[in-house]
Symmetry: C2
Subunit: 361 residues, 2 copies
């Protein structure tokens, strides 16, 4: 019996066990070819089928229409901070909603390439909430409105989708993509580093409305041009084939679970169990996120003291509950419960939390 | 018994079987952690050890001094075409040696960001050779001299290292890095996409002389700045952890073989056997590369006709010899015999070649 820990890491994070088992079983011989999928030419029919099935399954799960291109790129979500501005900013203003470290850095990076504006910030409130719809005003001359749908550090998440009017909406969906149904038609561009809900680090998914591709100008580095990457089906140069293969297996796995409605129901149960444990702890545990902004993916909370937080981390690790230390910029505790974290792991965590509170409360 | 084909793919290409077996055995539980290495935080001690050991083993194999930074980046060698120019070109001239498609595209990409000059081209000779030392004249005001040490399509390879005088020498070593001892001190920067000799697609190795890092200016996209990536030990953002882990396993494997002297001796034997079979075929097979420019990594050749080339590809594939079709821009046949292709596979290939020539000659 293979030892598997309860993995609450914020990213890279848990991968669904059936996906890892399948990858393991065919690592030396993919589909009878006598080669690993990572040893296959990206121009050959075997990899081509893997690549296109991954795209097709993502299209199916998210209901992505033919108005959008689905791209696999490299450089992580952080690479997209620059890339989206280099492709789409032009002479306009990049409007940014600042709900935490990553959205802040996204704007800072874009400012190298043109004008930006912060249309809302939660900084003075400790990033404990996301804005309500009427708190976001898109400035005149905006090229796009950018926001981060889920904030891994502070444990907040947009319950809905902002409405920027006629301006393209751009979303960093790295930490909650595929966790719930999403109406892609409301977006100009969605990007997501793979290493939370999609697969391993090393590939970033970009879903871009095709009419925006015309904005990619000819002086961009080739590998950073949405237009070129779309024209080449993400095979301008050698794509990260093994990472894309794993993303494809994750997508197949979610299709097998019943699609994103089913996935969302599981995620609701997991998050509800954790927040209930916090709320019913008699004040021993306190959540970072304000009501209405609670993330179903990253539950950030703290015990009564930094000392107890440290003890919680050490004792939970000894009980095979891994990755519960809060991000260094926020402190406290954090349980990341992405799609691949099983309900059984969340039950083990709340059992530990209850026991810990009884012993230390 | 797992079925393994003889894999002559040009890249992505064969991975050493012991590396794949090790990765397979620990895919669900790395080192007793209860998690795959791809499920571990890149900020945690487990991945950190993997990352730094990979760098240390590469330093040991190539004898890389502390004057150089060893970076893992994303975007492939094609991403480096732009990145090296964006970081290092400045107001000077990028001098390029054109020995084939990839070096040609490297210059074309750099020309988006400044001035370039082609100091030698083999285009009119069908890229059948690399220049002699006295054919390369570096122009005044050059920022660097760029060349491609091995040309996968045309099957040519520099037997030695060009001497650009005081100008930094930049080499795309994607297809022959770690295939022979290399005096890194002669270079300003070496880059290599992993998917030929280093591991899977999705990571690119960059070895850069530290004094050049000062040239990376502050308006570069963060993930494209050599200076920032060096300052953060390639962990500015989440690196492609699983690909780097595999590169580390490949490096360990080569250390275990006895280092690059031993690796070179094996590669010499493999290439010698193939070229002898071509040379002794009574003219049935003809090599693309001129004497003195023959690649030990990619042996490009052809049979008497395009029809026989096609028949060769079909019949060899049926005999489990995979990936022998020449690149679409050169036609003919090509056997890529990177480090991970076993001598036994080369023997199987020359047996097939002899039989095919007898039947069709």
């Amino acid at each position: 019996m293979t030892h598997r820990a309860h993995n609450f890491s914020a990213g890279p994070a848990a991968i669904p066990l059936p996906v890892l088992e399948r990858a393991q079983s065919e690592l030396l011989d993919y589909g009878g070819t006598g080669m690993s999928i990572m040893e296959q030419s990206h121009r050959g029919p075997t990899y081509d089928a893997v690549h296109n099935r991954a795209i097709a399954d993502l299209r199916s799960l998210l209901g992505i229409s033919d108005d959008y291109a689905v791209l696999f790129m490299q450089g992580g979500a952080r690479g997209q901070f620059a890339m989206l501005a280099m492709n789409l900013l032009g002479d306009g203003v990049g409007a940014y909603v600042d709900t935490g470290n990553w959205s802040f850095l996204a704007e800072k990076e874009a400012a190298k390439f043109g004008r930006t504006a912060t249309v809302w910030t939660g900084r003075d409130e400790g990033y404990c909430r996301v804005p309500a719809a009427d708190e976001i005003a898109v400035p005149a001359g905006a090229s796009y409105l950018h926001y981060t749908s889920n904030n891994t550090i502070y444990g907040t998440q947009f319950p809905g989708t902002p409405d920027p009017g006629d301006v393209p909406l751009i979303c960093d969906m790295s930490s909650d993509i595929l966790s719930r149904p999403t109406d892609v038609n409301r977006f100009g561009l969605i990007y997501a580093g793979a290493q939370k809900n999609l697969g391993p680090a090393g590939v970033v998914l970009v879903i871009v409305r095709k009419d925006l591709l015309a904005l990619s100008h000819d002086k961009l580095p080739e590998t950073m041009s949405y237009k070129l990457m779309a024209a080449k089906n993400s095979m301008l140069n050698t794509p990260p084939t093994f990472a894309i293969y794993l993303v494809g297996l994750v997508a197949q796995h979610l299709v097998g679970l019943g699609g994103l409605d089913a996935v969302e129901a599981i995620n609701e149960r997991k998050a509800e169990l954790l927040y209930r444990t916090i709320d019913e702890s008699g004040g021993f545990y306190s959540p970072n996120a304000a009501p209405g902004s609670r993330s179903r993916m990253n539950v950030s909370f703290r015990s009564p003291s930094a000392e107890l937080d440290a003890r919680f981390v050490a004792e939970s690790a000894a009980a095979d509950l891994v990755g519960l230390k809060g991000h260094r910029s926020a402190g406290g505790l954090r349980a990341s419960i992405y799609n691949a974290v099983p309900e059984e792991s969340v039950r083990a965590l709340v059992d530990f939390m209850g026991d810990f509170a009884r012993r230390c409360g």
